[in-house]
């Protein structure tokens, strides 16, 4: 599993990848009330915003660790945004067919160190 310093995680599986946010980020955001995701077929660009998360009193941008095309969107997260608070590492947002990977990726250890 890899991370961006802006708290997104990346799970790669061949040329597909799933993206979500870290447990730390979910904790910081507090109760998540809404996740605004792109649609299947949309393009995402590495290091750029592709989604937004709302808590009651704040909005946060979610950046993509990869470039590519969205092949799947996790409706469960849209229907039950609390699932992100419950298990952030399982609550994936989108699955992407990857064309390029961000050059700013951190390993799990590097990410843990960055949030201390």
């Amino acid at each position: 599993m890899k991370y961006l310093s802006s708290h997104e995680w990346l799970k790669q599986n061949g040329n597909l990848a799933k993206i979500g946010i870290s447990a730390f980020a979910a904790e910081e955001l507090g109760d998540i009330v809404f996740v605004d995701l792109p649609e299947v077929g949309d393009e995402v660009i590495a290091n750029e915003t592709f989604a937004e998360i709302e808590s009651v009193k704040a909005v946060s941008e979610v950046n993509s660790p990869v470039s590519g095309t969205v092949v799947a969107v996790n409706e469960a997260v849209v229907d039950s945004p609390e699932s992100v608070n419950e298990d952030a590492l399982e609550a994936w947002f989108i699955e992407v067919e990857v064309t390029e990977v961000s050059d700013k990726l951190l390993t799990e250890d590097e990410y843990q160190a960055s949030i201390e």
């Binding site: 109760d31 009330v33 809404f34 709302e54 009651v56 945004p81």
Partner: protein, 474 residues
């Protein structure tokens, strides 16, 4: 409480129409609705009982202390309500012949003159709210630069302490926002400002005093920097209650101003509106004002269209009945009274701040018409947050101050008592607040679950946002 729909019963009605003796005309079936809307069916006494009950679960300035920082919840004079209720103001159509509405035009003209005396600017009374005035003012700034073929000027500089409407308005106008950091006093960081101005600067939006309630003494320097770079200076008039009659925005270098008539000029907030966001500009921008403006034509009044008008920001001329109230307010106060109102607002704020000295992290520092307390220390030591303290104030029969604004102060509570509160009220409020803070150390759980004495406890805002129920399901 019952909803109005709970009180509904088929066949009940409260309506009555003027008697009509005209023959019926039936529209073709293809135009008609399939069924009538499911509005409530109630009798007149239901209406009265229902809204009376609802009103008893509302808290207005007429109920008690309302120290919402940045909102200027001053007393709403009743004579303003009386004059705004006159037939001659209510039952005139906006498109009546000009000769038949000379009174309305006269009032608008005289109000513009009053506001010009206070701000030093040429006014438009059209915007319906402060944010609307911001939108209008920024459009004027943009139009001015474009008129001068200065198309590169697309950036608006906004302090990070600014109210959210500032950047939102700029975005709506299509201008790019550049944030400039504040110094510890909430004032503009001069060096940082020098770093961001350039030939792409359309303007800088500022409120003075700033959102910490402090007067930025660097204002002339700031004006110089922005003007030298070719930009314009915008005054967010939300905090004008500190300096009405003491300082005129135009004299400190501002080019555009919007006023919050429902704040500074005593018109009631109505539960969220209507307000009025009258805006003003210096002479070189006057041709760009929204159309129409009221001008004098010998002894009478008429409408005129500014030569390079930006157009209209709403239908007709503005929130006229709100403007009537403002006119009455300024007329009663007059030159001395207006200045007195501001000075007493500043006096009251400083006095309350002094009484709250033991929890004031900026103790000894003079403020203007409002001040910010930080509950960070209390929060760190007891877990009781600014929100908890605010909710505990409700139990003590006070409306809380503004919470968590400005963003640059942690656990912020912003107090603006206004000039219309008595010394006894301020003394009493201070005692109650200090008591609450004391309780934070001895009984924090009670505070964290307050308020306890209100009709409802804390609402669950998470569920409200996750599973929105936005109307009565029938």
């Amino acid at each position: 409480m019952l909803t109005i729909y709970d009180r509904s019963k088929n066949g009940r009605h409260a309506y009555e129409m003027p008697t009509s003796f005209v023959e019926e005309y039936n529209l073709g079936k293809e135009f008609l609705q399939d069924k009538m809307p499911e509005l409530p069916q109630v009798s007149e006494i239901d209406i009265v009982r229902h809204y009376t009950e609802l009103s008893s679960h509302a808290y207005g300035v007429d109920n008690g202390f309302y120290p919402l920082g940045s909102c200027t919840m001053k007393y709403n004079p009743k004579v303003n309500e009386i004059v705004a209720g006159f037939d001659g103001f209510n039952n005139i159509h906006p498109e009546q012949p000009v000769k038949s509405v000379q009174g309305a035009l006269e009032l608008m003209y005289k109000l513009s003159e009053q506001l010009k005396a206070i701000t030093g600017m040429n006014m438009s009374l059209q915007p319906a709210a402060g944010a609307h005035g911001e939108f209008t003012g920024l459009k004027v700034i943009k139009a001015y630069h474009e008129h001068n073929k200065d198309f590169k000027r697309t950036k608006i500089i906004v302090p990070d302490s600014a109210h959210g409407t500032n950047p939102a308005s700029a975005a709506l106008v299509g201008l790019e926002i550049v944030n400039v950091p504040s110094n510890d006093d909430g004032g503009v960081d001069i060096e940082a400002l020098k770093g961001v101005v350039g030939d792409d600067t359309a303007g800088l939006m500022l409120t003075n005093p700033n959102t910490l309630g402090l007067f930025d003494a660097n204002i002339e320097k700031i004006a110089e920097i922005v003007h030298n770079a070719g930009g314009l200076l915008y005054y967010d008039g939300a905090n004008l209650n500190a300096v009405m009659g003491v300082v005129r925005p135009a004299d400190t270098g501002f080019d555009v101003v919007h006023l919050n008539i429902h704040k500074t000029f005593s018109t009631p907030h109505g539960g969220g509106g209507p307000g009025s966001g009258a805006m003003g500009v210096v002479d070189k921008l006057a041709d760009f004002l929204p159309t129409p403006i009221v001008v004098k034509d010998g002894d009478s009044y008429k409408f005129a269209e500014p030569q390079y008008t930006i157009g209209k920001v709403k239908n007709y001329y503005g929130n006229f009945l709100v403007l009537v109230r403002a006119y009455a307010y300024i007329r009663v106060l007059g030159a001395t009274g207006i200045k007195d109102a501001s000075q007493k607002a500043v006096l009251n704020a400083n006095y309350l701040k002094y009484k709250l000295g033991s929890i004031d992290y900026q103790k000894g520092r003079k403020c203007m018409h409002e001040f910010v307390l930080s509950m960070e220390k209390v929060h760190n030591e007891t877990g009781v947050s600014a929100l908890d303290l605010a909710k505990a104030m409700i139990d003590a029969n006070m409306h809380p101050p503004t919470m968590y604004f400005p963003l640059i102060v942690h656990e912020a509570l912003m107090f603006e008592p206004t000039e219309t509160e008595t010394k006894e009220t301020l003394d009493d409020v201070a005692v109650k607040i200090l008591e609450i803070v004391k309780n934070a150390y001895s009984n924090s759980e009670y505070l964290k679950t307050s308020p306890h004495t209100t009709y409802i406890g804390r609402p669950d805002e998470v569920i409200a946002a996750r599973q929105p129920i936005l109307k009565i399901e029938k």
